[in-house]
C-alpha cells in the first residue's frame, strides 16, 4: 500500500515533468523569452497572494461539477450533462435572485436550493430514460446539454433580459441574493467555502451513508448490488439526480458569487472541466479540490504567461491538453512499477520461506 503511494507520487511528478518538457518544446518554438514564459507558467501563480485568490475563485464551479461527476461515475453512469445543468442552475438562481425579494442570507439559500432542485429534476431525463428504457445516458445527457442551453438562452432573451444593456443579460440581482466576497478587494466569494463544505458533505455522503454505499456498490459491481437487495434502478436515478443537484448548485454559487447579472449565453465549459478533474481525482470526492486547484493553478499560470510574455493565448489549450494527457497516463513508468512489484513479491516469498524454515526447525 505504502509502496503504491510512493510509486503514485513518483509517477505523478515524473509525468508532470514530462508534460512540461513537451510543453517547453512548444514554448521554445514560439517564444523569444522561453524561460520567462516557463517561469510565469510554473512559478508565477505563487508569486502574489492575489493570484492565490484568483486560483481559489476559479476552482469554485469546477469543484461542484467535479463532485457531481464523481458521484455519477462512481455508480458507473457516464452522464455528461454537468455542463447543461450548471448553466441552467445558474439561470434559475438568477431568476430567483432577481424576481423573488427576500431577506438577506435566506435569499441566497433559496436561490441555491431552487437552482439545485431544478437542475436535479432535469437530470431525471437521462436517469429515467436509462432505468426505464435502457437508453444510453451518455447520448441523452449530451443532448440534454444543448436542450438546457437553448431553453436557458430562450428564457434569458425573451423573459429575463435587461433591454437597456448592450449585451443580452438579465437584470441586476437583488443585493440580498449576492454571495458576499470572502477576501476584500477580490472576487473570491464565500462560494469557495460552500464548495469545500460540499466536498466534505459529498465525501461523507459517499463513504458514510447508506445511499453513498449503494451508489458505490452499484458502480463497483451492479450484479452484486442487485443480488444484495440494493435497489439498482433507484440508485442509478439517485446518483444522477445528485450529480445534477451538485452542478446546478455550482451554477448558482458561481453566478451569485461572481456576477451581478446572468450573462451566460453559451455552455461555460465547467462540465467538461468537471469530467477532467474527476478523472484526475480518480472519482474520489476528497481529491476533487486538489485536482481543481491543479487545473485552476495551471490556467492561472497560462494567463500570466500570456500577460507577461509573448506566448499567445491559443498555446494555452495546447499546453493544458499535453499536461492532462501525460498526467493521467496510468501506464507511464509501468516497467519500473513492475520491477517494484516483482521485488516486493520476491521479498515476501523469501520471508515466508524463512518463516517456514523456522517452523520446520521447531517441529
Amino acid at each position: 500500500m505504502r509502496k503504491n503511494l510512493k510509486f503514485e507520487i513518483i509517477r505523478g511528478a515524473a509525468s508532470i515533468l514530462l508534460a512540461l518538457a513537451v510543453a517547453m518544446i512548444f514554448i521554445f518554438i514560439i517564444s523569444d523569452v522561453p524561460f520567462e514564459a516557463l517561469y510565469n507558467l510554473i512559478i508565477g501563480p505563487f508569486t502574489k497572494l492575489r493570484y492565490l485568490w484568483l486560483i481559489l475563485e476559479r476552482m469554485i464551479p469546477i469543484v461542484f461539477t467535479g463532485l457531481g461527476v464523481c458521484v455519477m461515475f462512481q455508480a458507473n453512469q457516464f452522464n455528461l450533462a454537468g455542463e447543461g445543468t450548471l448553466f441552467f442552475g445558474g439561470l434559475v438562481a438568477a431568476a430567483v435572485a432577481i424576481y423573488l425579494p427576500m431577506p438577506p442570507v435566506l435569499h441566497i439559500i433559496v436561490c441555491i436550493v431552487i437552482a439545485s432542485v431544478v437542475a436535479a429534476a432535469a437530470m431525471l431525463i437521462p436517469a429515467l430514460l436509462k432505468t426505464k428504457l435502457g437508453a444510453s445516458e451518455m447520448v441523452s445527457s449530451l443532448m440534454l446539454n444543448y436542450i438546457l442551453l437553448q431553453l436557458g438562452v430562450y428564457i434569458l432573451n425573451w423573459h429575463m433580459a435587461d433591454r437597456t444593456q448592450g449585451a443580452t443579460m438579465s437584470h441586476l440581482f437583488q443585493d440580498t441574493a449576492r454571495i458576499p466576497t470572502l477576501v476584500p478587494r477580490t472576487n473570491l466569494s464565500w462560494g469557495i467555502i460552500i464548495a469545500l463544505a460540499m466536498t466534505a458533505l459529498v465525501a461523507l455522503f459517499m463513504y458514510r451513508t447508506k445511499w453513498g454505499y449503494a451508489i458505490r456498490m452499484v458502480g463497483q459491481n451492479q450484479s452484486f448490488a442487485k443480488y444484495s437487495g440494493i435497489k439498482v434502478a433507484g440508485t442509478i436515478v439517485l446518483c444522477q439526480v445528485i450529480g445534477g443537484l451538485l452542478s446546478g448548485m455550482g451554477g448558482a454559487v458561481e453566478v451569485l458569487g461572481y456576477y451581478d447579472r446572468f450573462k451566460w449565453r453559451q455552455l461555460p465549459g465547467y462540465g467538461w472541466d468537471g469530467v477532467t478533474i474527476a478523472i484526475l481525482a480518480k472519482n474520489n470526492p476528497v481529491f476533487i479540490p486538489f485536482a481543481a486547484f491543479f487545473m485552476s493553478y495551471l490556467k492561472q499560470g497560462c494567463n500570466l504567461m500570456q500577460t507577461y510574455t509573448d506566448v499567445p493565448a491559443e498555446m494555452l489549450s495546447i499546453i493544458q491538453a499535453v499536461i492532462f494527457l501525460f498526467f493521467a497516463a496510468e501506464q507511464f513508468l509501468s516497467k519500473y512499477r513492475q520491477k517494484l512489484v516483482v521485488k516486493g513479491a520476491k521479498e515476501e516469498l523469501a520471508e515466508k520461506k524463512a518463516e517456514g524454515g523456522q517452523k520446520g526447525a521447531e517441529a
Binding site: 518554438i29 514560439i30 517564444s31 523569444d32 492575489r50 484568483l54 475563485e57 476559479r58 437553448q150 438562452v153 432573451n157 435587461d162 433591454r163 437597456t164 444593456q165 448592450g166 449585451a167 443580452t168 478587494r185 472576487n187 461572481y258 451581478d260 447579472r261 450573462k263 451566460w264 449565453r265 453559451q266 455552455l267 461555460p268 465549459g269 465547467y270 494567463n303 500570466l304 500570456q306 500577460t307 509573448d310 506566448v311 499567445p312 493565448a313
Partner: protein
C-alpha cells in the same frame, strides 16, 4: 521556423518607455504605452481587428506602443477578462488600457473604480467613471443606410434581383447590439419602400458558418435577393450561400469584399458593399483628442455617420449600384445625422424589436 510568428500581434514593449504616473495625459512626443484588451479573439475581421489596425497605425506613426491581450470569447473566459484587466491595472505600467464591447462595461466599471489613477478607453459600450472615456457607434444609423440600400436594390432592375420585394438579415445572436443594427435596417428598408419584407433569422452564435449558410439558403428559398450578414464568422456562411445562389450579400464591420477578394472571388463578387463600424478610426480619433488635451474623461463620445464612426464602403462593387440608390443614400445620410430622420434603437427598453421584426416578416 515559426519563431517570429508569435510576435507580430504582440510587438515588443519598448523598455525605455518610462512608466508614467498615468494620472495626467502624458504630453509631448513620448509614445504612450497602451494595453489592448480583447475579450475575444483577433481575426474576427470585425471590430477587434479594426481596433487592432487603428492601434497599429498609431504605433507606426510613433504615437503609441501597444500590446494586445487576447482573452477568448467563451463564457468560461469571462473571469479571465476580469482578472486580466485587474492585473494590468494593478501592474500600473500602462498609460492607457483599451477594451471594448458591452460585455466589458460592468467589469471595467468595477475595475476603473478600484484603480482611479489608471486611464481607460472603452469602445462600443459606456462606462460612467471619471477615468474612462467611452466611444459608442450608432449602428442603428448604419443599419438605416444599409436597409435603405437593400430595399431599393430588391425593387431595382439590377442583376441578380428577382421581382419579389424580400430582403434578409442574418444575425449572430438575438441580442441588443445585433438588434440595434436590425432596427435601423428594418426602418430604413420600410422607409424606402413599405412593401419590402424583411426575413430576420439568427444563427445562435458567431462561429457556426454551416448554420449561417443554411439560414441564408432558406432565405433564398423565401425569395430574398439581398442579405445582410451581421453574424461574425457565421456571416461568411451567408456569403457562401449568396455566391452559390447568385444573390447580393452585404458585409459588416470591415470591408468584406476586400477580405474575400484575396481568395474567395465568387464571394467578393456578390458582396455589394459593407456596413462599417470603424472602431480603429474611433480609437485614432480619441487618441488625437487625448494628445491635444481636449478629451473629456467620464464622457461618452458617440460616433455616427458624420464622425466616420459608421458608414458604407464605397469602393469595389458599390459602383454597381444604380445611381438612384446612390443618390438616395446621399439624401438619407445627412438627415439621419441631423436627426431629421429619427432611427429607433434597440437599447431602449420600451422598444418592441420583436413586434417590429414580426410585422415585416415575409
Amino acid at each position: 521556423g515559426g519563431g517570429n510568428g508569435g510576435n507580430t500581434s504582440t510587438p515588443s514593449n519598448n523598455p525605455s518607455t518610462p512608466a508614467d504616473n498615468g494620472g495626467s495625459a502624458p504630453s509631448g512626443s513620448e509614445p504612450l504605452k497602451v494595453a489592448n484588451v480583447v475579450n475575444g479573439n483577433l481575426g474576427d475581421k470585425s471590430f477587434f481587428d479594426s481596433c487592432e489596425a487603428g492601434l497599429k497605425k498609431l504605433q507606426d506613426d510613433g504615437v503609441i506602443t501597444y500590446k494586445t491581450f487576447e482573452l477568448g470569447a467563451t463564457d468560461a473566459d469571462q473571469p479571465k477578462w476580469v482578472s486580466t484587466l485587474d492585473e494590468l491595472s494593478a501592474d500600473g505600467s500602462y498609460d492607457l488600457i483599451v477594451c471594448g464591447t458591452y460585455q466589458m462595461d460592468a467589469i471595467l466599471n468595477d475595475c476603473a473604480a478600484k484603480y482611479p489613477d489608471q486611464k481607460y478607453f472603452i469602445y462600443d459600450a459606456e462606462v460612467a467613471q471619471p477615468n474612462v472615456a467611452s466611444i459608442t457607434f450608432k449602428q442603428n444609423d448604419l443599419g438605416y443606410l444599409v436597409g435603405t440600400a437593400a430595399a431599393l436594390m430588391t425593387t431595382s432592375s439590377m442583376e441578380k434581383i428577382n421581382p419579389e420585394k424580400v430582403i434578409g438579415f442574418v444575425g449572430g445572436e438575438d441580442g441588443p447590439v445585433i438588434n440595434d443594427f436590425l432596427t435601423g435596417f428594418i426602418q430604413g428598408a420600410q422607409a424606402a419602400d413599405p412593401e419590402v419584407k424583411i426575413d430576420t433569422q439568427y444563427v445562435g452564435n458567431f462561429y457556426d458558418t454551416g448554420k449561417g449558410k443554411e439560414i441564408a439558403n432558406v432565405m433564398v428559398n423565401n425569395k430574398c435577393d439581398v442579405i445582410w450578414g451581421v453574424a461574425g464568422g457565421a456571416g461568411n456562411g451567408a456569403a457562401e450561400a449568396a455566391a452559390e445562389k447568385d444573390i447580393w450579400f452585404i458585409g459588416v464591420d470591415s470591408d468584406q469584399e476586400a477580405t474575400f477578394s484575396a481568395n474567395q472571388p465568387q464571394m467578393a463578387a456578390v458582396t455589394i458593399f459593407s456596413g462599417l463600424k470603424n472602431c480603429g478610426d474611433g480609437i485614432i480619433y480619441m487618441m488625437g483628442k487625448l494628445k491635444d488635451g481636449s478629451i473629456e474623461w467620464g464622457k461618452t463620445t458617440q460616433l455616427g455617420i458624420a464622425e466616420g464612426g459608421v458608414g458604407l464602403t464605397s469602393g469595389g462593387n458599390f459602383a454597381k449600384l444604380p445611381d438612384n440608390i446612390k443618390k438616395a443614400l446621399d439624401d438619407v445620410a445627412p438627415k439621419v445625422t441631423s436627426g431629421e430622420i429619427k432611427v429607433d434603437t434597440a437599447f431602449d427598453e420600451s422598444f418592441d424589436i420583436k413586434g417590429l421584426r414580426d410585422s415585416v416578416r415575409p
